[in-house]
């Protein structure tokens, strides 16, 4: 013979697993979202960037210094020898902005009259660049600017030589830069900010539908009275339901982790091997286990809050309208953790959700302090226990259970 709490748990779990909506929110979305998102984004970014990088740029050069002898600023000639440029020389500049805007041209360079005089007087000679900011990571503009920089360097070298100066004497120091940041720390800060954000959302959404179904849904369907008139105590009923909501929320976050781990371990086409190997080293099983240990008390707290709100609601619809905006309340502290300068400290370790986000970031980066982690665990456990007790009390309140 089983304890009534266990009987309620088993029944609610079976009932929940037969609900397609819950299954999609709890299993399918978290398991597939990360792999699809990562593969999709990598492929998309790679193809767009490659396209922008390999494309031959159509550039018009309007050189006002061009004389009858065919000599001008030399810019058009220089660009013609640069790889990936198709240069057209034009006289009329009035149509150029529109041609760039309509993407008939990738860019246009205008060399105004006075360019040669300024250059001769050793003043900065003006060159106007017309470009259109694009979603191709602004690669066309960058490529034109890089070519201009090389042109400028050529002019500078010529100028220095005309003064009898070797250009290299202007570089007294040759800085050899070496970044000693570990890949774990580098990607820890990046991934550590983003991952808890995802886990927290899944932890919340995974428990949301079961919580609504198990309390408000049961009220609306008229099965709650039957359950309450059984020998199971209110505490046992609350515990059984509570355990299911906690389990679904946690499972959702766990499956998201599994989805991400598997896709990273399998290797994602489009992500450079060096970065992929760094991410793989960040997502070590030990690190993931520690992060999930933080998610567990958070799931308990979410389950309590969700179940209480659901029990308070008169119907499924009302519960939905109360709980859905709560997601924003949950996301805000997680988003704050993404802001630069926000670190895990004695105060932030006590703020629910924010503390999980910050602690995850520190764990992944390998910079977590044991005292702060202990504080996060302690505050989450306290919160979870408080939430659980409050939830059980609400099941005993007839003004809540029979609210109409």
């Amino acid at each position: 013979m089983s304890s009534p709490a266990l009987v309620v748990f088993r029944k609610e779990l079976r009932d929940t697993l037969r609900d397609r909506r819950t299954l999609v929110a709890m299993v399918v979305v978290p398991l597939l979202l990360f792999p699809l998102l990562m593969v999709g984004m990598a492929k998309f970014s790679q193809s767009r960037a490659a396209e922008a990088r390999d494309k031959t740029l159509e550039v018009a050069v309007a050189d006002a210094e061009l004389g009858p002898d065919g000599r001008g600023s030399g810019l058009a000639e220089f660009l013609r020898h640069e790889p990936g440029f198709a240069v057209t020389e034009v006289q009329d500049v009035t149509g150029l902005p529109e041609q760039v805007r309509s993407e008939a041209l990738d860019a246009a360079l205008i060399v105004p009259s006075g360019y040669a005089a300024a250059l001769a007087a050793h003043y900065p000679a003006p060159v106007q660049l017309l470009h259109k900011s694009s979603d191709d990571f602004d690669i066309p503009r960058t490529r034109v600017e890089q070519a201009l920089a090389r042109f400028e360097q050529k002019l500078l070298d010529e100028r220095l030589r005309s003064f009898g100066v070797e250009p290299r004497v202007l570089d007294p120091i040759d800085v050899q830069r070496t970044d000693v940041v570990s890949s774990r720390e580098l990607f820890g800060k990046l991934l550590g900010g983003l991952l808890p954000y995802m886990f927290i959302i899944f932890c919340f959404t995974g428990g949301m539908y079961p919580a609504i179904d198990l309390a408000a849904g049961e009220k609306e369907r008229g099965t709650l009275e039957t359950l309450l008139s059984s020998p199971a105590s209110r505490l046992q009923i609350a515990l059984g339901k509570f355990a299911v909501v906690t389990l679904t929320g946690f499972t959702s976050a766990l499956l998201a982790t599994v989805g991400m781990y598997v896709s990273v371990q399998q290797g994602i086409e489009g992500i450079p091997p060096a970065i992929l190997s760094a991410i793989q080293s960040v997502l070590a099983p030990g690190t993931i286990a520690l992060v999930l240990a933080l998610i567990l008390p958070l799931s308990v707290f979410f389950a309590a809050a969700l179940l209480m709100l659901s029990l308070y609601a008169r119907s499924y619809k009302e519960a939905m309208s109360v709980i859905s905006p709560l997601m924003i309340v949950v996301v805000v502290p997680a988003a704050i953790a993404l802001a630069p300068g926000v670190r895990l400290g004695l105060v932030t370790a006590l703020v629910p959700v924010l503390n999980v986000s910050l602690a995850t970031r520190e764990i992944i980066a390998g910079t977590a302090e044991p005292l702060h982690l202990a504080l996060v665990f302690a505050s989450l456990l306290l919160l979870a226990a408080g939430g659980m007790l409050a939830c059980a009390r609400w099941f005993s309140r007839e003004d809540i259970v029979f609210r109409s």
Binding site: M1, K11, D15, R18, R221, S229, S230, P231, A232, D399
Partner: protein, 281 residues
């Protein structure tokens, strides 16, 4: 046996309910004039006392809003009374509600099944909650499923069944633990004739098995067909009660003519309303 002594229960009135009551104050309403009613509380039950005996069917008769459901919910320990005493098969329901619920089966007209569970799983869930041992469950389940004609539907999900079939499964669920006391709260309300008949048969079977049966209704024909004893309930109070024959014997008009139960019921309610009307400022 169900013993209810001097039972009272009030509910806090919400701001919205208070506004509604104020708007209705000119006209008599089901909530106005209850003994103990105040600006913040509504007295739903005021000193109800009655006794339901084993092997007999007790009908709680009253108009809508009389407080019948509140009384039955207190008996089923869903609500806690403000005062009074409830005994279920010898167990003090206030001191030990879990033990009281073990001896009780509770069925309402709005009772529904878990639609994603099969008929069998619905009944099994109730049995497990009542701690019915596996051999007892099998014996009870076979007998009930056979008697109710639901064996063929045992493996089907409740959501795929007809209303009548669902009601039969709800019946099986209510009595799977073989309770000493069975309480029906307007259990036939809104049901078609076939489904209602199944409930009525269950009430008769429970009486034949020596169980204590309490049911609430506002349908007079059900009372005359089923009840051995009754109490007329109005605005949280018992207006009249006793054996059905006894109540009918007392129901005689000024010309010495016997009244029907319905006429007697209406007379009692009218008299109580008139009394409250005079008492009201």
């Amino acid at each position: 046996m169900i013993e209810v002594v001097d039972l009272t229960k009030s509910f806090p009135i919400s701001r919205q309910q208070r506004r509604e009551l104020a708007a209705q104050s000119a006209a008599p309403s089901k909530t106005a004039g209850r003994p103990g009613a105040s600006a913040t509380n509504l007295q739903a039950v005021a000193g109800a006392t009655f006794r339901c005996r084993p092997g007999r069917v007790f009908a709680l008769l009253g108009p809508n809003g009389a407080g019948k459901t509140t009384v039955l919910r207190m008996i089923a320990t869903l609500l806690r009374p403000d005062g009074g005493r409830i005994s279920i098969a010898g167990v003090d329901a206030l001191a030990d509600p879990v033990a009281a619920r073990r001896r009780l089966g509770f069925l309402t007209g709005s009772t529904k099944l878990y639609e994603r569970l099969t008929a069998e799983e619905n009944v099994r869930y109730a049995a497990d909650l009542h701690g019915v041992a596996a051999p007892d469950y099998k014996r009870r389940r076979d007998a009930l499923f056979g008697a109710l004609g639901i064996e063929a539907y045992a493996g089907r999900r409740a959501g795929q069944l007809s209303t009548g079939m669902k009601q039969k499964i709800a019946i099986a669920r209510t009595v799977i633990h073989d309770p000493e006391v069975v309480v029906f709260d307007e259990a036939t309300s809104g049901l078609d004739v076939i489904a209602a008949r199944a409930i009525i048969q269950l009430i008769k079977d429970c009486r034949a098995q020596g169980k204590t049966v309490l049911f609430s209704t506002h349908i007079m024909s059900e009372v005359t067909m089923l009840a051995d004893d009754l109490a007329v309930f109005h605005r949280g109070r018992v207006l009249a009660g006793g054996g059905l024959e006894e109540v009918l014997a007392r129901a005689v008009d000024e010309h010495g003519q016997r009244r029907t139960l319905e006429d007697e019921f209406v007379r009692l309610i009218d008299a109580a309303e008139a009394e409250l009307g005079e008492a009201r400022p």
